[in-house]
Symmetry: C2
Subunit: 303 residues, 2 copies
C-alpha cells in the first residue's frame, strides 16, 4: 500500500503541475504583467507535495466524481495554500528566507511583488473555481467557492494565522495557550484548508449525507494530525530536510502541543488522530485505502 | 437631477454600510479573531462614497433586478476595493499614511494585521457572493464570483497595480508611458472594478445581450473617466479635501494623462468620456438618468 501511495502522490502532483501551468498560460490572454505572472509561477510551480490537491482528487475519485473538476479544484486550493505561504513569509509576518528549498518570494523578487502575487494567487483560486471549465454545474462551482472561502477566511486559515501572531506575543505579552486553544488555533490555521480539500472532493463526488459526514470527520482528524506532525518535524528535522526554516516555533515561544506536552505525548496524540482518521472511513471499502494511507503518510512524513 | 443623485448616493451608501455591518456581525460566528475583525471593520466601515456598490445597485435597479442580491454584490465589490486600498497603502507598496481621512490600516494597527486583514477582506468578498443569501440561483452566484475575480486579478486591478509600480521605476529605470500604455494601465487598475460593478448589476438584472453591451460600454467609459478625474484631483486638490495623500503621482513620475497632456487636454478627454458613458445608455429611457448622473458626478466630484 505504501509504495502505491507514494507513486499515486507523485502522479497526482504531476497532474496538478500540468493544470497549474495551463492556468498560468491562459493568464497571458488577456495579459497579466510579466513580472506579476513570473512571481506567481515562482511561488506555485515546481515544489510541494501537493497534499491538498491530492486529497481533493482522491476523495472525488473514491466517489467516482469528475476528475477534471477535482484537478481544477485541487489547483485552486493549492493557489490559496501558496498565497498564504508567500504572505506568511513576508518580513512583516514570519520573515522567512527559505520555502520549498528556494529563497522566499519576497527575496526572489521584492516585497511589493510578493504581496501582489499572493493577492493575485488568491483571486486566481476563486476565478478557477467559478469558471465553467471546472464544472458545467454552476451549483457545484458556487459550492466549491463557498467551501474554499470559508476555509481560507477569518474563521479559518487567515484567522489561525492571526491567532498564531498573537500567541507569539506580537501585539502584547506572549500568550500561554492551553491545549484547547492550541487545537483551536491549529484547526483554523492548517486544519481548515486540509479539511476543505476533503470536503471539495466530497462535493465533486456528490457524497450523500452519511458519506459527507464520514469524510468530514476524516478530514478534521487528518488536519489535526498534520499540524502535530509538522510541529514534531520542526523540532526533529533539519532545515535542509524540510526546505524551510526549522526550530523557529520553539524559539519564538509559539504554542504547539509538542511544546506544551513534550515529544512523547505529542506522538501518542498523533497516533490517536491517525487512527481516528482511518476509522472515520469505516463505511468505505478498500477503495478508501489510498485515503487511509494519506493519513499514515501525514504522520510519518520526514518533510 | 443632481440633488436627487447625491441623495440617492448617500442612501445607497447607508444601505451598503448596513449590509457590511451585518456581514461582519455574522463573521463572529464561528469567531473571527477580534483583532482581525476589528482591522477589517476599520478598513471597510464608515468611509468612502461607495461608488462601486452604487453602480451595482443602480444598474440592477434599472433592470428591476433583485435589490437584496445587488446590495450583497455591492458589499463584495467594496470588500475587494477596500482590500486593495489597504494593501496599496502598505510601506512596501505606496507607503501612505492617510486614507478616507483616517490613518491607514497598517498605522492604526500594524503591518502584519494590515496584510492579513486585506487578505481576509478579499476572501470575504468571494464568500459573500457564493453564499446562498446573495441569490437562490447558484448560476448567478457563480457568475458574480467569476466577474469579480476576473476584474480583481492579474489581468485587472492587481495587474494594473503591478504596472503602476513598474511605471514609477520601482524595479528598473522609470518607464515613460505613452497615452496608450497609460490608458491600458488605468483600464486595469481602476477601470476593471468599476466596469465590473456595472456588469454585476447587469447580471443581477438579467440584462439581455443588447442591454449588457450598452452597460458594458457605459462602465468602461465611466471607469476611464473616473481615473482621469482622479488624476486631475491629485493635482488640483488638497490632501484635506481628499482624505488621502495628493500630488504624489507627479512627484513619483507616475504616468498619468494629466502629466502627459497637461490639465487642459486631460479635462477635454474627461468630458468626452462622460459624454461617451451617457450616450452608451441611449437605449434606456429616463430611468437610466441616475446612471447618467453618476457619470457626470465621476467627472465633477471634488473628492
Amino acid at each position: 500500500m505504501n509504495i502505491d501511495f507514494h507513486q499515486r502522490l507523485a502522479s497526482v502532483a504531476s497532474e496538478i503541475e500540468d493544470v497549474l501551468v495551463t492556468i498560468f498560460d491562459v493568464a497571458t490572454d488577456p495579459p497579466v504583467p510579466a513580472r506579476l505572472l513570473n512571481a506567481m509561477r515562482y511561488a506555485a510551480l515546481g515544489g510541494g507535495k501537493r497534499l491538498r490537491p491530492f486529497l481533493v482528487v482522491e476523495t472525488a475519485n473514491l466517489l467516482n466524481g469528475d476528475s477534471g473538476a477535482a484537478l481544477r479544484a485541487g489547483a485552486a486550493i493549492e493557489f490559496v495554500h501558496v498565497y498564504s505561504l508567500a504572505h506568511d513569509d513576508l518580513p512583516a509576518m514570519d520573515d522567512d528566507d527559505l520555502r520549498r528549498g528556494k529563497p522566499t518570494l519576497h527575496l526572489a523578487f521584492d516585497e511589493a511583488t510578493a504581496i501582489l502575487a499572493g493577492d493575485t494567487l488568491q483571486t486566481l483560486a476563486f476565478e478557477t473555481l467559478s469558471d465553467p471549465a471546472t464544472s458545467t454545474d454552476p451549483a457545484m462551482r458556487a459550492e466549491l467557492v463557498l467551501l474554499l472561502a470559508r476555509a481560507a477566511g477569518g474563521a479559518g486559515m487567515a484567522g489561525g494565522q492571526m491567532l498564531d501572531l498573537e500567541a507569539e506575543g506580537r501585539f502584547s505579552a506572549e500568550v500561554e495557550l492551553n491545549a484547547h486553544a492550541i487545537r483551536q488555533l491549529q484547526a483554523m490555521k492548517t486544519g481548515a484548508i486540509l479539511s476543505c480539500a476533503v470536503e471539495m472532493g466530497a462535493t465533486i463526488g456528490r457524497a450523500n449525507a452519511q458519506q459527507y459526514q464520514a469524510l468530514l470527520s476524516y478530514g478534521r482528524a487528518l488536519g489535526a494530525a498534520f499540524q502535530i506532525a509538522d510541529d514534531i518535524l520542526d523540532v526533529e528535522s533539519s532545515s535542509a530536510e524540510l526546505g524551510k526554516a526549522t526550530g523557529k516555533d520553539a524559539g519564538r515561544g509559539k504554542g504547539t502541543l509538542v511544546g506544551l506536552w513534550g515529544l512523547g505525548k505529542a506522538k501518542a496524540e498523533l497516533a490517536r488522530l491517525v487512527d481516528e482518521a482511518v476509522h472515520a472511513l469505516a463505511l468505505f471499502g478498500e477503495e478508501a485505502d489510498i485515503l487511509r494511507a494519506a493519513a499514515h503518510f501525514t504522520a510519518e512524513r520526514r518533510s
